[in-house]
């Protein structure tokens, strides 16, 4: 897979797990079982497995990590798997803030999940002869959600059947398996159903834009449906699903209001905000797809 396909692959699983293209870097939950306990991040590193400690150690080593000084004193407790961290509100709030506010945490998680989850999944897929981007995404999803080893063995070797046939069979076997498990796992068949739709559409190379379970994946959404709070990121604002939000949207809305296009500056780039932008562009004869640099400059943002 090339880098764009890898990003798309990660986005598909993020949508399954969090309903968001970029996932939720600040997600916190407590999972049952000794390998679970406190779980954190867009692909759930856990206290019990030691992966959370590894992630935080990596983050705290970065010179620009905003929450490193606050988190470092807790690292020994993560290292010895102190399960009282499950309910430590100070730690949970710190983790949540780091995940929602610090680009260094986003970068750490992207690297960590790429190296530890996505790359090994791609290698596992290749080892059984699956090379298409969609096929490898099916394998990645199975490894993230669970059950890959068990079900791969049930489907057997790829042999002469061809990759697409094998992946289709695997997806149907996986669907039946998920439906046979305890609640709420049968409800997660939306994951395999989404793959079935992509296969029916022949999207084996994951071309963009893609709609997955009601969420649109575009290059813009991959690049940044998150902005650094308190800063004005240089991205082109346009209608996406879900809508873009952030401080740059608020700055744009305030500028529109200053120029007579009244709005409550709610920080949401939805249809109403887009209409105001088009009105502004039309009044200034600006031709631009979305609110990009020309529009921003004309508004003094």
């Amino acid at each position: 897979m090339n880098d764009l396909q890898k990003a798309t692959c990660a986005a598909i699983v993020n949508i399954f797990e969090t309903g968001r293209v970029r996932g939720d870097y600040g997600a916190i939950a407590v999972l049952k079982g000794d390998s679970g306990h406190l779980s954190y991040g867009r692909s759930q590193t856990t206290l019990g497995s030691g992966s959370l400690c590894k992630l935080l150690t990596q983050y705290c080593q970065l010179p620009n990590a905003q929450f490193a000084a606050d988190l470092k004193p807790f690292l020994p407790r993560f290292d010895r798997k102190d399960f009282s961290l499950d309910t430590d509100t100070t730690v949970c709030q710190l983790l949540q803030r780091a995940g929602r506010e610090d680009p260094a945490m986003w970068a750490t998680q992207d690297q960590f999940f790429g190296e530890n989850y996505l790359d090994p999944a791609c290698r596992a897929a290749e080892s059984v002869g699956i090379t298409s981007a969609l096929g490898q995404t099916v394998v990645y999803d199975s490894r993230v959600q669970g059950g890959w080893a068990k079900l791969q063995a049930r489907v057997g070797p790829l042999t002469a059947r061809g990759e697409q046939d094998w992946v289709k069979t695997y997806v149907s076997v996986r669907k039946a398996w998920l439906q046979s498990l305890a609640r709420p796992l049968p409800s997660t068949v939306y994951r395999v159903d989404a793959f079935t739709i992509l296969m029916e559409q022949g999207k084996w190379d994951l071309p963009l834009p893609l709609a997955v379970h009601g969420v649109e994946i575009t290059e813009a959404a991959l690049a940044g449906d998150l902005v650094v709070p308190g800063t004005t990121a240089k991205r082109t604002l346009r209608i996406t699903t879900p809508y873009l939000r952030g401080s740059d949207v608020t700055a744009l809305q305030r500028a529109l209001a200053r120029n007579g296009l009244l709005n409550s500056a709610d920080g949401i780039y939805g249809s109403f905000t887009d209409t105001l932008v088009r009105n502004w562009q039309s009044s200034k004869a600006i031709q631009e797809d979305g609110a990009g640099p020309k529009t921003m400059q004309s508004l003094g943002v």
Partner: protein, 263 residues
Amino acid sequence: MARAAGPVINEISITPGESDASLAKGTAPATLLPDLVQATTAARQDLSSFPAVVNSNAAIAITALSDAIKAAGAAQTGSELNQLIETLPTLKGKAELGARDAAIDFQAKKATQTEAETAQKAASTLQDFFANVMQAISVAGANSMRFEESPALDVRTIDLRGTNLSSEGLFEIDHADLPFRMFFNKDGQNAPEIVIREDSTPSFARVLRLTLDPARLGSSDLAQFQKWFDADGVHTFTLTNPDGQKAELSFSLPPAATQKANP
């Protein structure tokens, strides 16, 4: 000089006596429905803050949000949850279309700024609500999948009853080595535990206990442990005392008469 008497195993008892597969059936975690309370509360709060609207398209967006919250509140069973997962993307799409059409109406002066903004906010709240519901389902699913992938294995205690059972002997199940590193006695050592000593030879036991904790085993030992205890079946236990004399007895999971030697 007369050779010391060899070991005799009269009885083996394994605790728990069922295979891991049987135990897993009985200890599977209670089926969990995702916790949608937080997601629903946040969405409901937004919904209650919206002003009344007259514009029909703005109303469509708000109604879609309201319907989504109701659907989540009604999801008490697995099939209702499936229904919710199917319904939410449709409702989200409806809210987005409502917001788009309300913005068109605003442009045509058929909707007020407040109405068009409210429709945008309703669609945005529903997008968040959808994401939060999916996340809650994913977390609940991860809990269940964790058990499905690797159910917690029980500590196994093997009690051997007989005579001249050496705690320093060699132990085998199905003629595969059961090494000392797999044992964990009450003193925290990797060794068997003598529960009742032989009166005549204190280094021998009449009751010898072997405790195996799967959580402490390395991957190859764990694989061997699972080979022995994962499924129902009959196995052979062998003890070879340091002088080379052997005793052998079958045991089964779940327990059966074969675990007791014939008198």
